[in-house]
Symmetry: C2
């Protein structure tokens, strides 16, 4: 396994997306058992100016598109529909499919490619490698962790193993 | 900037450790202004079986030793003293110094080296590259994010920019 942008991002994103999918399964089962309105769970946030659980999951999927963006693959349109667990999980599934479609060779040699993304409403340019390591991955992890923390805080029985997802074979 | 284990870990860990240091500065100032006991803040957790804020910071520093561990540098003994903000910040400072001491060449070619770390009380072996991408980095980010989330939840005025720390020059 070479040290490349691909191997430093795609496999671990796949692992953690699978983890997040399992975390949402447990959250949904917990909500059903407690007769909680799923919308209340998906709209939970840690503070009034933080994102809801649903938006955390959306952000995870947004940042998980980075490898495909660097590879030059056309990105799917992900509508802002996330009012049910099923919609959240469908979004994760589409993102996992996108990651699966990225081939290592499509990212090789793209380290210096200019990537333009909107930040705070303004387009910002990054070299692909900086974008991956200093923008996409920290944000991907931030939102994956925050989604998990919100559910832990609500009492859903989860452990670090759920967060981490299945380790690579 | 080559794609190496070094460039995929050390600069972003330095960036986020500096972020965490600033986050703790703001937390301490907030606690002082509100006349909160710092120990209460440092012992806050999201759920009874989750780690306290202080332990989250300890874990961040533990996982940030990964590059030095791979480089074969002797690791500092970090005593489990973390009952004050000053002790937390001193730990972060020692960890930042350790990361600064790692030279890219010390990690090059070590991708397949066996790294043994205790997990759940048992020694577990990983190839260095898997250890870095699938153990150390996800855990580093997990605990950095959770420390930030605990403080956001307490009402400390922080934004994503504080979490992210100063971007690389």
């Amino acid at each position: 396994m070479a040290v490349t942008m691909y191997y430093g991002s795609v496999p671990v994103m796949q692992q953690l997306l699978a983890g997040l999918n399992g975390v949402l399964d447990k959250a949904e089962a917990h909500a059903t058992a407690k007769k909680w309105d799923p919308a209340v769970v998906l709209n939970t946030r840690f503070y009034p100016d933080m994102f809801t659980l649903a938006r955390q999951v959306r952000q995870v999927c947004e940042h998980a598109m980075a490898p495909a963006r660097i590879a030059g693959i056309e990105l799917p349109k992900n509508p802002d529909l996330d009012s049910t667990f099923a919609e959240m999980k469908a979004r994760i599934s589409r993102t996992a499919d996108l990651l699966k479609s990225v081939q290592p060779a499509q990212m090789d040699g793209q380290e210096g490619k200019t990537i333009t993304i909107p930040m705070g409403g303004q387009p910002r340019e990054f070299k692909a490698q900086n974008y991956l390591y200093h923008v996409a991955l920290p944000n991907f992890y931030f939102h994956t962790t925050t989604a998990y923390n919100i559910l832990r805080h609500l009492g859903v029985e989860l452990g670090k193993r759920d967060f981490m997802g299945p380790p690579p074979a």
